[in-house]
């Protein structure tokens, strides 16, 4: 008879024993590396969270299917880049264009029907959409993760042993440009100003002649495009798979809450905070519990400032 293993042995705790003395330069290099990594993650979260915050601000609705917009955007990018063979810049712009159409269709069908209903109905409907989209992706696109490496994702920038893929640099630069453009759009354009007004008083906007349906439609289209653009930027670094949006929705939602419920700049700042916390906690405390640590910090922020980090009245 084969010897039986002991019944109640516990898994070894996550552990780290440094085998050498680390110099200050190495430590700074390490920290810089994690900061850069955190900013990359933060950029991804921020582009998704900004869309979520826009929807919450303008339509007073939490779209729990927003992570699936990111997932569908990633698949649209994969189709354009890997299957159709389009050049990267074109594929990365085509994915948001496709998702604009999807965002419009989603607003016209699901959102228009649930917007006048109670928050319970909205919650169930958007959660149901999320589940349906994930499972549709499993059925239609399969479970095999898709890899979309680009020239930039495999090309490494090496500065004195500090190594980073050029794609990460692109993510950061593109995120900065996107957030600058978003600010300009919201502050300077007629539709942007209508979005800000609606985030303060939807009813009053309707009374003074703002086309609230059109502005809501634009908000959903813009949010979907932002999610898809984020997907097109980070997909060359990661995997694309049907379930990829689920955890992202939670993190983006946490950023929206911590940033001040519907305040776009707050959501963006909180996203970077989550990304940096994850990277630093994952590297210096525990990789397995980095998400838990990030959420604990979010809880602490909300205990300290229940209105969120940058909280004020709802307004984008």
């Amino acid at each position: 008879m084969a010897p039986k293993p002991p019944n109640a042995r516990r898994a070894p705790a996550e552990s780290w024993r440094s085998s050498g003395t680390r110099t200050g330069t190495q430590l700074i290099g390490d920290i810089l590396e994690q900061v850069l990594h955190g900013l990359t993650l933060g950029s991804m979260y921020a582009m998704v969270a900004a869309g979520l915050a826009l929807m919450l601000g303008v339509a007073r609705l939490i779209n729990f299917a927003h992570g699936e917009f990111f997932m569908l955007g990633a698949y649209a990018f994969w189709l354009a880049y890997s299957e159709l063979g389009l050049p990267y810049p074109l594929a990365a712009l085509l994915a948001p264009a496709v998702m604009v159409a999807f965002g419009v269709a989603y607003q016209r069908t699901v959102i228009r029907a649930i917007l006048p209903r109670s928050w319970h109905v909205q919650l169930i409907a958007t959660l149901a959409t999320s589940i349906v989209l994930t499972n549709l992706a499993i059925i239609v696109l399969g479970t095999q993760p898709k890899e979309v490496p680009t020239a930039l994702s495999s090309r490494i920038l090496d500065v004195g042993g500090f190594r980073v893929a050029w794609q990460r640099v692109l993510v950061l630069v593109a995120a900065l440009v996107v957030f600058w453009a978003l600010q300009r759009f919201v502050a300077r354009t007629r539709t942007g100003r209508a979005m800000r007004a609606m985030s303060q008083n939807r009813e009053a906007c309707a009374v003074v002649g703002v086309d609230v349906q059109r502005v809501t439609l634009v908000t959903f289209a813009l949010s979907a495009a932002l999610a898809a653009l984020a997907a097109a930027l980070v997909s060359p670094l990661f995997n694309i798979f049907p379930d990829m949006g689920t955890a992202l929705t939670l993190k983006a939602f946490a950023a929206v809450v911590a940033g001040g419920f519907g305040y776009v700049n707050g959501a963006i700042a909180a996203s970077f905070l989550i990304g940096l916390t994850e990277a630093l906690a994952g590297s210096y405390v525990s990789y397995a519990y980095k998400d838990a640590i990030a959420f604990l910090i979010m809880i602490a922020v909300l205990l300290w400032r229940p209105q969120g980090l940058f909280g004020r009245r709802i307004g984008i």
Partner: protein, 391 residues
């Protein structure tokens, strides 16, 4: 003339009656349940199991079934979770009324399902879960309804650690999935490394489906191990290996799961060299059954997947022989007789090696050491396993 007509009508009626009797007497199909993760982050395993099982059932039925009895496959989703595995077993046993279950692919799901199969009284043959607790809990004095074809990680860890020591490895870090499979393997390698004289410098866990591994790779870099033992599946392995190369790490990687696999190579087909040098401990690899590889590739246009192939092998080389024994000895193949017959299965030449369950209902199949190089998988060693390996 009238008599002739009457005789013909009688004969015709008799023939029709005989046909109807024969159709009515035709034994019902044997119902076989497959439980795996059909949705959620691990859905790739369940999809593979569905494909593999469907292909194997078609193959068996095309040859006339098992002693004239057709087989029918039923599927249930355990989402790779212990709680969902309970629902999956109940669905298969109570709703689909299956005679035997093959599954549950994931160690946590296996451990969750074991008490329920015992309570219901339905045999479950495990195709892929490698948690050492499963062997401790199965068989004589434990769960008599659970049988395992897959090798467990304790058996594999002892053999693999000895191999690593023979290669001159002095230190290693473990990177494992943060689930029952990964944590079970981490326990096993902790003990096995000690025994083999390899110093374990750090143990890290990660959640499957992580987009980014840079923080954990930095932790591994800081621990400065000579080698890394990665307990990881192909789906996570591709981004992990790309980021490993991006950071410029040079440690030799030993792996458990499906890092060195056709699935991984398919994912990184743009640059298969990123997997160069990885040595994996496994018990299945593409090439063990070329016929199967051909059929799978023709049907699904991608290389055979590990878990789907293991489900098919378990069906063809463990469950089917048990059903044959049950039918020969008892003339029936219900849950009780299949369980009794599984103890008598003695297959010498399955693609995995011999399949014969011991007192702990553990089969001691072959263990394989593979190396990935230039987009190819090469078998380094094929080892016959036995309880003596644990001493």
């Amino acid at each position: 003339m009238r008599r002739l007509a009457l005789t013909l009508v009688s004969l015709l009626l008799a023939a029709l009656a005989a046909g109807a009797w024969s159709a009515g007497a035709q034994a019902p199909p044997i119902r076989i349940g497959f439980a795996s993760a059909m949705s959620g982050p691990a859905a790739i395993t369940g999809e593979g199991v569905r494909w593999g099982a469907t292909l194997a059932v078609e193959e068996i039925n095309a040859k006339g079934g098992i002693m004239g009895r057709k087989i029918e496959a039923f599927f249930a989703d355990n989402k790779a979770q212990p709680g969902e595995a309970v629902s999956a077993v109940r669905k298969l046993a109570d709703v689909d009324q299956v005679d035997v279950i093959i599954g549950q692919t994931h160690s946590g799901a296996c451990l969750g399902a074991m008490p329920v199969v015992k309570e219901i009284g339905v045999p479950m043959v495990i195709e892929a879960c490698s948690h050492p607790q499963i062997r401790a809990l199965s068989g004589k004095g434990g769960n008599e309804w659970t049988f395992r074809v897959a090798l467990d990680d304790e058996i594999m860890a002892y053999t693999f650690a000895r191999y690593m020591a023979r290669q001159g490895v002095k230190s290693s870090s473990v990177l494992a999935m943060n689930n029952d499979f990964g944590r079970g393997a981490a326990v096993a390698y902790d003990a096995a490394f000690k025994k083999a004289g390899i110093s374990l410098l750090s143990t890290e866990f990660f959640d499957p489906g992580q987009p980014d591994y840079r923080p954990v790779l930095t932790r591994l870099k800081r621990a400065t191990p000579e080698t890394i033992l990665a307990v990881i599946l192909a789906s996570d392995g591709a981004p992990f290996m790309r980021q490993f190369r991006e950071l410029g790490l040079t440690q030799k990687i030993f792996s458990r799961g499906s890092l060195a696999s056709a699935e991984f190579l398919h994912q990184v087909r743009d640059n298969p060299k990123i997997g160069d040098g990885v040595v994996e401990a496994s018990y299945w690899v593409v090439g063990l059954d070329p016929d199967w590889d051909k059929k799978w590739t023709e049907r699904h246009k991608i290389p055979p997947r590990v878990h789907g192939s293991l489900a098919a092998i378990t069906l063809k080389w463990a469950v089917v022989p048990a059903i044959e024994i049950a039918l020969k000895k008892h003339g029936k193949a219900d849950r009780q007789t299949i369980r009794a017959a599984l103890k008598e299965v003695d297959v010498k030449d399955s693609p995995l090696g011999p399949i014969k369950f011991d007192d702990n209902h553990q089969a001691w199949i072959n263990m394989i050491l593979l190396e990935m190089r230039d987009g190819q998988l090469r078998i380094l060693e094929k080892l016959q396993t036995s309880p003596a390996l644990l001493n």
